[in-house]
């Protein structure tokens, strides 16, 4: 079981309200990703759930029981840290076995669990090594191994891949997703990388200044952003947000058009290509449209448009409309 409920959870550091009051339901077995810009409170929220920070007010329930005042060890959760946080003086085996030792588990049973975790994570040949003798990816696997041996109610991941290089990050991302498929345990994952959020999550929680802006499935957030912040945050490259007369034509304060929904050819917007990047599979171009601003466009690899070209753009794919408060219009 791993059902977690946050009820009006608030956290302040002195005068500053970092989390002004959050309500959230996380179902058993769900993969939930907290995403948001730096300083939005996503890590603080995770640490509140972990028990590493005390709540200022509100309640946190785990499997229906109030866990607000429980110390981290008593919450039945396991956490993987950004810096791995391995014990440098212990071997891989001792690192993985540490939570079992703390739980006073029978050594034979602990050994079995360590071997099982090591085999799942391809660490069997490294059990006698110290963390300092491992690569970044292997260290991260040890950190995950230390978390899975406990068979926790939920896993908490605090930006676990941000210290890895790009190639390794993709590999580990898939490994964590596969781990979730096989364990079916609740996972809460904090990241500022929205690609990680989109590819891994069952449910994304978008945070901004400690507030939840929107909760939903990745595609729901992509297609139906509730407000300008979510619209701008989800999707890569970012959605083009346009204000002024062009937005007024659509009866909105702000309109948004995703770069992949704008076609180059015939259309109402005309401008000069500034930057053009050709990746083979895709082309990314920035077009300076007078009266509107810089528009990002994502086209096919064969787009054939270059710096200085005059092009016409058609945003007909899909236009998102927002009111003066930034909220989506129906």
């Amino acid at each position: 079981m791993g059902q977690i409920t946050l009820n009006q959870v608030r956290k302040s550091f002195g005068e500053v309200d970092v989390i002004p009051g959050v309500d959230l339901d996380i179902k058993d077995g769900e993969f939930v990703v907290f995403v948001g810009p730096s300083g939005c409170g996503k890590s603080t929220l995770l640490r509140l759930i972990a028990g590493l920070e005390d709540t200022t007010s509100g309640t946190i329930s785990i499997d229906g029981k109030d866990a607000t005042a429980l110390p981290p060890a008593k919450r039945g959760l396991a956490m993987v840290f950004q810096s791995y946080a391995l014990y440098p003086h212990m071997s891989v085996k001792k690192n993985i076995g540490f939570p079992l030792k703390m739980a006073g588990m029978d050594p034979a049973e602990a050994e079995k669990r360590i071997q099982r975790a090591a085999s799942v994570l391809n660490l069997t040949n490294y059990l006698d090594r110290k963390p300092g003798q491992l690569s970044g990816g292997q260290r991260q696997r040890v950190a995950i191994g230390r978390a899975i041996v406990r068979e926790p109610a939920a896993f908490l991941f605090d930006e676990p891949l941000s210290n890895l290089d790009a190639a390794l990050r993709v590999g580990m991302r898939q490994e964590i997703s596969e781990l979730h498929q096989s364990l079916k345990t609740t996972m809460i994952y904090v990241t500022h990388d929205q690609v990680e959020a989109m590819t891994m999550a069952d449910k994304i929680v978008v945070l901004n200044a400690g507030r939840i802006e929107q909760v939903g499935s990745p595609l729901d957030l992509y297609h139906n952003p509730k407000n300008v912040f979510v619209a701008g945050f989800i999707g890569s490259p970012k959605m083009n947000l346009i204000e002024g007369p062009e937005a007024a034509k659509h009866g909105a304060h702000t309109i948004g058009a995703r770069p992949e929904h704008i076609t180059v050819g015939d259309g109402p917007w005309e401008g000069v290509v500034g930057l053009s990047e050709h990746l083979g599979s895709d082309s990314f171009i920035k077009v300076d449209v007078p009266g509107i601003g810089i528009i990002n466009v994502r086209g096919s690899g064969e787009l054939g448009v270059h710096h200085g070209d005059r092009v016409k753009l058609n945003p007909a794919g899909k236009i998102h409309r927002f009111d003066a408060n930034g909220l989506a219009l129906a």
Partner: protein, 276 residues
């Protein structure tokens, strides 16, 4: 970027370093040489660095006239005991200051250190009277407590510096892994800070071993350590420089040997955290 030195400059710097080192070491060298002289050549005028009549008689006489092993054992008990007791208090204190600091933690640390700036003689009478009334005068436990209190600010400061270098995330990880506060300190913090704790131990053993003010003031015979042993050779019959030097050499030799073998550890410990 490493700065390259010209050979001439390098030689000058080496020479200066040796000169300073020799000036610092000279009193010890003089004492050791004197310990092998006769009383007559020890007080010869003008003073002689070297003499023709080397002798081991001073050592033999000092050994015969006093109970050196007892003084030595008292020094061991007092310096090791005060260091261990200090660590038992300082580890939790430094843990709290490093990982759960309050608003006034820095002030508290500064205040503790400022007590080291107070002249010991200023509190001699009250401490002497307290020790007298509590029966701690001339007891090893009394000296263990006195020297522990004297060195506690340094132990806490040193450990605080080492602990600050340990990433808080590792301790949080241990908490998530089910470690109690005790488990966190025993299984994670202490092994990780072991090099720092070892340096702290060494430095404090040396400080306690060399301490002469309180050990002489608070002891008479039973608990007197080697510092009192040296002092006993400068009494009623007058000053016998050669014997005094032999006694001093015997007193400092154990700690000199310990310091010699652990100098790498000591330097590493004292400069820990100075360079990242």
């Amino acid at each position: 970027m490493a700065r390259s030195l010209s050979p001439r400059r390098k030689m000058m710097m080496t020479l200066s370093a040796w000169t300073v080192a020799l000036i610092i070491f000279f009193p010890v060298l003089w004492m050791i040489l004197t310990s092998f002289k006769t009383e007559v050549s020890a007080v010869a005028s003008p003073p002689q660095l070297f003499t023709a009549d080397w002798t081991l008689d001073n050592y033999a006489e000092v050994w015969a006239r006093s109970d050196y092993p007892r003084f030595f054992w008292n020094s061991v008990v007092i310096s090791v005991g005060s260091t261990l007791l200090g660590l038992a208090i300082a580890i939790p204190a430094a843990w709290a200051m490093a990982f759960v600091p309050g608003k006034r933690t820095k002030d508290l640390l500064m205040w503790m250190l400022s007590t080291k700036m107070m002249p010991a003689v200023a509190v001699m009478i009250p401490i002497y009277l307290i020790f007298l009334r509590t029966g701690l005068i001339d007891t090893r436990i009394g000296l263990v407590i006195a020297l522990m209190l004297m060195n506690l600010p340094i132990i806490i400061w040193m450990l605080y510096t080492y602990f600050k270098e340990i990433p808080a995330e590792i301790l949080e990880a241990s908490r998530m892994d089910g470690a109690s506060l005790w488990g966190e300190i025993v299984y994670v913090l202490t092994p990780m800070a072991l090099p720092g704790i070892a340096s702290t131990c060494l430095l404090n053993i040396i400080l306690a071993w060399n301490e002469a003010f309180w050990t002489i003031v608070l002891t008479t015979t039973k608990a007197a350590p080697l510092s009192a042993f040296i002092a006993s050779f400068s009494a009623p019959q007058g000053l016998f420089y050669a014997k005094l030097s032999a006694a001093s050499a015997m007193a400092i030799m154990p700690i000199l040997i310990l310091g010699w073998f652990s100098q790498k550890q000591l330097v590493r410990g004292l400069t820990f955290g100075a360079v990242k």
